[in-house]
Amino acid sequence: MAVKIVADGKLPPLWHYGHEEHDVIASKTFGFWLYMLSDALIFAGIFAAYGVLDHTMNAAGGPTEAQIVHPIAAFWQTIAVLSSVFAYSLATVALKHGNRLGLMLGIVAAILLGGVFMALELKDFADLYAQGATAQTSGFLSAFFLIIATHGLHMIFGLIWLLVMLAQILRLGLTAPVVAQLLNLRLFWQFQAAIWVCVYVFVYLKGAI
């Protein structure tokens, strides 16, 4: 492709003198979305590991899938995490209308419901440990605890972030960076619900088949 020559004297503009606009919010949320994709691939790797280690031989004579998953009990966790995500999503609707109180109430509700989720999960862990089913018992149990714990760690991180956002709203107000963070947190929190769908179906339900 040869270089295009323009007609004499008809040079198009060479420099852009306009004011430099920088969409802070779109820039931050796109970068965060990309991070979420890499986070999703962490889970892909973990699910691949689980797919390899969930056979009977990986239980090394210890508890197998069917013996440790309780889908009905885990459904309460499902309700908790989905409600927490729903509460935060509604909080961002309040943000849309500039309703600061609604926003903060939604965040508090999300924290509480997320706390319920973590409490249920930790109780489940404690019960399993009491039965002697620990991550050190077998390869299968290592993989099982890995999936649940990785999701749980993300949840804890999100709960801390929710608390920090409460402080930021109070201290900085609804500036562009703070709003961008709230949107990022929405992506992160909704992502936890999406991952939980996979965890619930492919660990708890699949284990009970």
């Binding site: 779109a26 796109f30 090394a60 889908p71 609707v93 943000l95 849309k96 949107l183 339900l205």
Partner: protein, 129 residues
């Protein structure tokens, strides 16, 4: 980047929040997972088909979340998120799918049938002196 008014609350990504969308997403996911639970606990399908069935329900739940909760569409402020997600999905399928297939083949070729109940599989490796 297109110019926006200086009020961050007017940004399209803030304004795309919708009570209807979030409620629909929440209820749809809950309902689909509840259906999957019922299918499993009630043994309403034979085991081989059951896995396919609940996988299908999970897929629909994830799609519902994409549209209703994440609000992914092809508007200018969301299109890159949608494109990057669609391009990443094959990688999930490759990572998990090819791994599982590979190990199925490997197990069929290298594992003695019935190895899972062999007593020797419970030894702790010891420190090499």
């Amino acid at each position: 980047m297109a110019a926006h008014s200086d009020d961050p609350l007017q940004h399209p990504e803030v304004q795309q929040a919708s009570v209807f969308g979030y409620t629909a997403g929440f209820l749809a996911t809950l309902a689909l997972l509840g259906a999957a639970l019922l299918l499993t606990e009630g043994h309403l399908m034979p085991p081989e088909q059951l896995l396919g069935g609940i996988s299908g329900l999970a897929l629909i739940a994830l799609l519902a979340q994409c549209f209703l909760s994440f609000g992914l569409d092809i508007t200018s402020h969301n299109i890159w998120k949608s494109v990057s997600l669609i391009l990443t999905v094959p990688l999930f399928i490759l990572t998990i799918g090819l791994t599982v297939w590979m190990f199925q083949q490997l197990d069929a070729l290298t594992m003695i049938p019935g190895a899972s109940v062999m007593p020797g599989m419970t030894m702790q490796p010891t420190l090499l002196q």
